[in-house]
Symmetry: C2
Subunit: 517 residues, 2 copies
């Protein structure tokens, strides 16, 4: 057997049985080894941004990494933007980047580049395999690294380490270090602070603390101490909907976020960062809490956040109180009608959301009301763009649908960002994934119109107009989707959109709706 | 005025008057400044790979850099693959990467990343601007750096350096260092070696030495000394066709290249690298020349290669001999007919090539015969994928067409690589660029089928089949192109292809032909 076989065995023994891939010549032995492992599900992306975006969406839902197969430095470069999003979502991911044979690097062949330098900004673990025998331990270590923080681990696999022989050996699962327990003193200190600040305190949460159980625990703490709770502006996954507890997020617009947090004198971080503006604006503060706000850390990522919340609930007497659970919306009003706009699309999707859906939200400016609108929809998972690197939505749907084949995946997709990884539609078609993609076809980078006004430019000349609009020609999403094998249709009225959306929910497989707004 | 205005002024005074862009929030002041400069042509790409691929194509034809406008680390990450190709083509390029305001970086906002680490592998000049007053000198220095090697220069522009005020000042053109003269002793030594080795010597050329004048000089040296001349396997631009001199390239398949170069005992490098295999293969050598071959360097990139060739021609008495010029093909045979295949497509394009066309070749495996087939076509420029980072073809056509609006651009495009930056078709439509894109729709990564066989795998199982084929579903390029505003049609026979290609040549504006092979 060779190094590539060992690689596959080490992945499989650790439960990594999905590989999103875009291979090249230096990975042919890896492909040949995968071919000998039918238990590994290989999913082709026609661009590496699709590969890592899918791996991100997969792991957010599967709670374990997918492997990716990337080709040399440029192939990984194409994958970096969605590795960045995965890093910001604390997603476990295990990238295998093929490279030239060790002895070929000296020749500086055309595809040669400094893969380590490219990988490090978006990976918390980077390792270059040195020999075929190094493959097994390196992949095991990378798996543990991806699971334990969690985050992005990148392994560089030279061709000769893939094709070189290894001694047959039993491959065993790699132990993953447990999350670190938070010290009891920390729990007591935070509890004391919460008691002191009461209604002027808030929990700021992200990561695993946004799942149903810990969210309920946090809501009990809020009920017991009077504090508030928020999710970060961007999070990998939130479990929401009827019967769960509500979790507002920090607003994107700086002024709204400042208003939202202006009365908070104590901020308790639960894996989260101190909230800051997504961007700096002249004359506006970077931090979104006031200068006198005390910041306490219950735990950081890698800590046992859910255990810490449970301990904090004990300490604050919160186990005895009942939080408010979200009740089913009692809306009997008719669905929106008439000309379509972004808010109507959001309303219709929220109102018709099926039980147990997975929402992948890259609606950017068009969907700003959506998160609030669907909070009392049937139970669902809400996945969003975390790192601001647009082009994650279509592939994230791919990954979520691969991880959860029995659940409906709904992509809320801005048109500008959708174009970044539009190739992902093909993978949706090839794998016949159960995804409804809603394109908010406003034919502009709408967010940038707002940002231009924020910097004081209200009249756009020719150059600004050219750079901020996607019209001339308008993108025809129906044609593009059909060209990649995805059925699609266009809606220009709310009635048409409702009909198409209902139709898409009533069938299996990928469908795209271009909502002209 | 602000830093962004100074940036635009510094670009324009240096003759940089095209900006390929995909802006984000941190670049809004740059966009606003561009809006005040109608003399700057701004071209939007719907993905950053389009932006740098277009900048590469532009500069190969314009012999000066375009500016690019990229958004933060992830935006630049998306641009890296075609920066890699530009680096390998020795293309001047001036990237401006917007970043957070200097004082905002400390907050680690979601889009924050280590831009320098990402930029360095693909840029020979990287500079982070520190103040608004730094903008002018930094852009000037970057321009000089891009022109003098030539290569890729990347400048990081924090938001506050763009929006901060600068003192009004006259902006003057930045002096660009001349290419370094090659020492007379080097010329004499190389001349002596060429005389000694005669027919067993070869010039290995790239960069500016592949333009009409220096190629003719090199051909005279060959005629005088009996040596051969070759272009590297991959080059940024070659001036070819009737009335010029022929320049074979080093073959891609290792065995063919070894055969091609087996009798060469002296290799003279003219800006080129020693030829090596694009990849390593078990049991095959990395270098494509034999172990006893002497390697002499006439000049490296950054040297005055054309001056060195002229001096070498003097020294070898080559100015008095006449090289062989390419004669017009005397083919009276009919064009191919019947079912279409890749070779027929190449033959038809070569036979119908219009005068003064620009060929952008990313045909990968399908077009292997094309370079030889079109050597005696009417005069044309031949641009090819240089760094092996697929996804350059469609944007390279954009850039070449922007640089040369009066010339027909012909994209020879493999389907697999075409999907990488398929968004570039929209820019072709928006700018109404005179481009004919020929898609070799073989619906596989055909090159990888060959590479799999090269590693000894002849029977593909399910996983390999999934990863190496682009069928199920087949890509419908006509729909995709129309979805982005590019007129398109499909050919399944040679007659249909001929008719469509002739039709496309007879009109202006973008047209795509899906050649089903």
């Amino acid at each position: 057997m060779n190094g590539a076989d060992r690689l596959c065995d080490t992945l499989l023994v650790n439960g990594v049985d999905v590989c999103f891939a875009n291979p090249g010549t230096s990975e042919m032995h890896f492909v040949a080894a995968l071919d000998r492992k039918p238990q590994m599900r290989c999913v082709l992306g026609l661009f590496e941004g699709v590969v890592t975006g899918a791996a991100d969406g997969y792991a957010r839902m599967a709670d374990k990494p997918a492997a990716t197969l990337l080709h040399c430095g440029p192939g990984m470069a194409n994958a970096l933007a969605n590795m960045h999003n995965a890093r910001r979502a604390w997603t476990p991911m295990l990238n295998v980047v093929g490279d030239h044979a060790t002895y070929h690097l000296q020749h500086d062949a055309p595809l040669t580049s400094d893969i380590e330098s490219l990988a490090r900004p978006m990976s918390h673990y980077v390792h270059r395999i040195a020999t075929p025998e190094d493959v097994g331990p390196a992949i095991g270590e990378a798996y543990a690294a991806a699971m334990s923080l969690p985050g992005v681990a990148t392994v560089i696999l030279p061709g000769d380490c893939a094709w070189g022989s290894v001694e047959p050996a039993e491959v065993t699962a790699t132990p993953v270090p447990s999350f670190k327990a938070v010290a009891p003193e920390t729990i007591s200190e935070v509890a004391a602070l919460l008691r002191k600040h009461g209604g002027r305190a808030a929990l700021m949460m992200t990561g695993s603390s946004l799942r149903e159980g810990p969210l309920e625990t946090a809501a009990r703490i809020c009920a017991a101490t009077g504090c508030k709770m928020y999710g970060q502006m961007s999070n990998g996954r939130i479990e929401r909907g009827v019967g769960r507890v509500a979790i507002p997020k920090v607003f994107y617009p700086v002024d709204m976020a400042l208003e939202q947090l202006k009365d908070i004198d104590l901020l308790v971080l639960v894996g989260a960062q101190i909230p800051v503006g997504f961007f700096a604006y002249p004359g506006k503060p970077g931090r979104l809490i006031h200068d006198g706000c005390i910041v306490a850390t219950l735990g950081v990522m890698g800590d046992d956040l859910n255990g810490a919340l449970a301990a904090l609930a004990e300490e604050t007497g919160a186990t005895k109180v009942e939080p408010a659970f979200i009740a089913r919306a009692q809306t009997e009003t008719a669905l929106p009608s008439g000309d379509l706009d972004a808010d109507k699309v959001c309303t219709i999707v929220a109102r018709l959301l099926p039980e147990n859906a997975i929402i992948c939200d890259e609606s950017v400016s068009s969907g700003r009301v959506f998160y609030q609108q669907c909070h009392n929809a049937p139970q669902h998972d809400y996945l969003q763009l975390t790192g601001g690197a647009i082009g994650e939505g279509i592939p994230m749907c791919v990954g979520a649908a691969v991880a959860c084949p029995d659940r409906k995946v709904i992509g809320m997709q801005a048109d500008g960002s959708g174009m970044y990884t539009v190739q992902g539609l093909w993978t949706q078609a090839r794998e016949n994934l159960d995804i409804v993609t809603v394109i908010f076809a406003n034919r502009t980078y709408a967010i940038l119109h707002g940002e231009m006004r924020a910097v004081g430019v209200n009249d756009f000349g020719r150059n600004a107009t050219l750079m901020l609009n996607l019209d001339e020609p308008a993108l025809d999403w129906v044609s593009m989707a059909r060209g990649m094998g995805v059925e699609a249709a266009r809606a220009t009225t709310a009635e048409e959109f409702t009909k198409l959306f209902k139709g898409a929910l009533g069938r299996k497989g990928p469908f795209l709706i271009e909502a002209v707004i």
